[in-house]
C-alpha cells in the first residue's frame, strides 16, 4: 500500500463546476500538506500549502486537512478550462531539524479536464 493514495482520474467536469480532489495517507507523522498543479510537459507548480489540520482559502481554491481521518481535499470553485491539468497532493513529516528531512511524498496525481 502506498503512503499516499490519490484517485488518478481522469476527472471531466463542465466549466463552472465545483471540483473536489482528495488524497488519503497512512503516515501519521505527516504535518505539512501541499497541492501542486502540473500542466502537460511542465514542472509541478505549488498551489496551496497548509500545516496540520484546518482549511485554507486562496481565490477559487480551498484546501482542507483532516489529520484525524488522514484525509486532505482541494476544492476548485467556478472551474475554468485553464484549470485542466494534473493535480498532485504532497506531504511532508518535517524539516531536517525535526528529522523529516523535508522529503515530499506525492500522490499519483488526478488528471482534471474542464470542458467548455
Amino acid at each position: 500500500q502506498k503512503e499516499v493514495e490519490q484517485d488518478p482520474g481522469p476527472l471531466s467536469v463542465p466549466e463552472g463546476a465545483i471540483v473536489s480532489l482528495n488524497c488519503t495517507y497512512s503516515n501519521s507523522a505527516f504535518q505539512y500538506f501541499m497541492w501542486y498543479r502540473q500542466y502537460s510537459r511542465k514542472g509541478p507548480e505549488l498551489l496551496m500549502y497548509t500545516y496540520s489540520s484546518g482549511n485554507k482559502e486562496d481565490g477559487r481554491f480551498t484546501a482542507q486537512v483532516d489529520k484525524s481521518s488522514k484525509y486532505i481535499s482541494l476544492f476548485i470553485r467556478d472551474s475554468q478550462p485553464s484549470d485542466s491539468a494534473t493535480y498532485l497532493c504532497a506531504m511532508s513529516a518535517g524539516s531536517i531539524l525535526t528529522g523529516g528531512g523535508n522529503k515530499l511524498t506525492f500522490g499519483t496525481g488526478t488528471q482534471l479536464k474542464v470542458e467548455l
Binding site: P8, Q38, K42, P44, L88, A90, G100, N102, K103
Partner: protein, 113 residues
C-alpha cells in the same frame, strides 16, 4: 527570471552511455532535490542536499551520483544508462525550515534507447 532551471530539457541517449543533468536555483534556498517522474506521472524523491551536504538518498542505484558544488547548484550524473532510466527528472529547491514547500524546475525528459 527562472527560479529553478535545469538543462537540458530533453535528452535522448543510448544504453550504456553516461550523461549529466544540471540544475541551478536563484531563490537563495538551502535545500535542493532530485525527483524522478515515471510514465504514470508518479513523482518520487531520489536525493536531497542541504548546504551542499547529502541528507536524503532514497535507495537509488549507485549509477546515479548527485553533486552539489555550491548551495545554488545540484547536478545529477548517471553512469551506464539503462532503458528503465527513461523518465522525467525534476530538480527542486526549498528553504531550510520546517516542511516548507518545494519549487520545481521544468524537468528533463530522458529517453534511453
Amino acid at each position: 527570471d527562472t527560479a529553478v532551471s535545469q538543462t537540458p530539457k530533453y535528452l535522448v541517449t543510448q544504453m550504456g552511455n553516461d550523461k549529466s543533468i544540471k540544475c541551478e536555483q536563484n531563490l537563495g534556498h538551502d535545500t535542493m532535490y532530485w525527483y524522478k517522474q515515471d510514465s504514470k506521472k508518479f513523482l518520487k524523491i531520489m536525493f536531497s542536499y542541504n548546504n551542499k551536504e547529502l541528507i536524503i538518498n532514497e535507495t537509488v542505484p549507485n549509477r546515479f551520483s548527485p553533486k552539489s558544488p555550491d548551495k545554488a547548484h545540484l547536478n545529477l550524473h548517471i553512469n551506464s544508462l539503462e532503458l528503465g532510466d527513461s523518465a522525467v527528472y525534476f530538480c527542486a529547491s526549498s528553504r531550510d525550515t520546517g516542511g516548507t514547500e518545494a519549487f520545481f524546475g521544468q524537468g528533463t525528459r530522458l529517453t534511453v534507447v
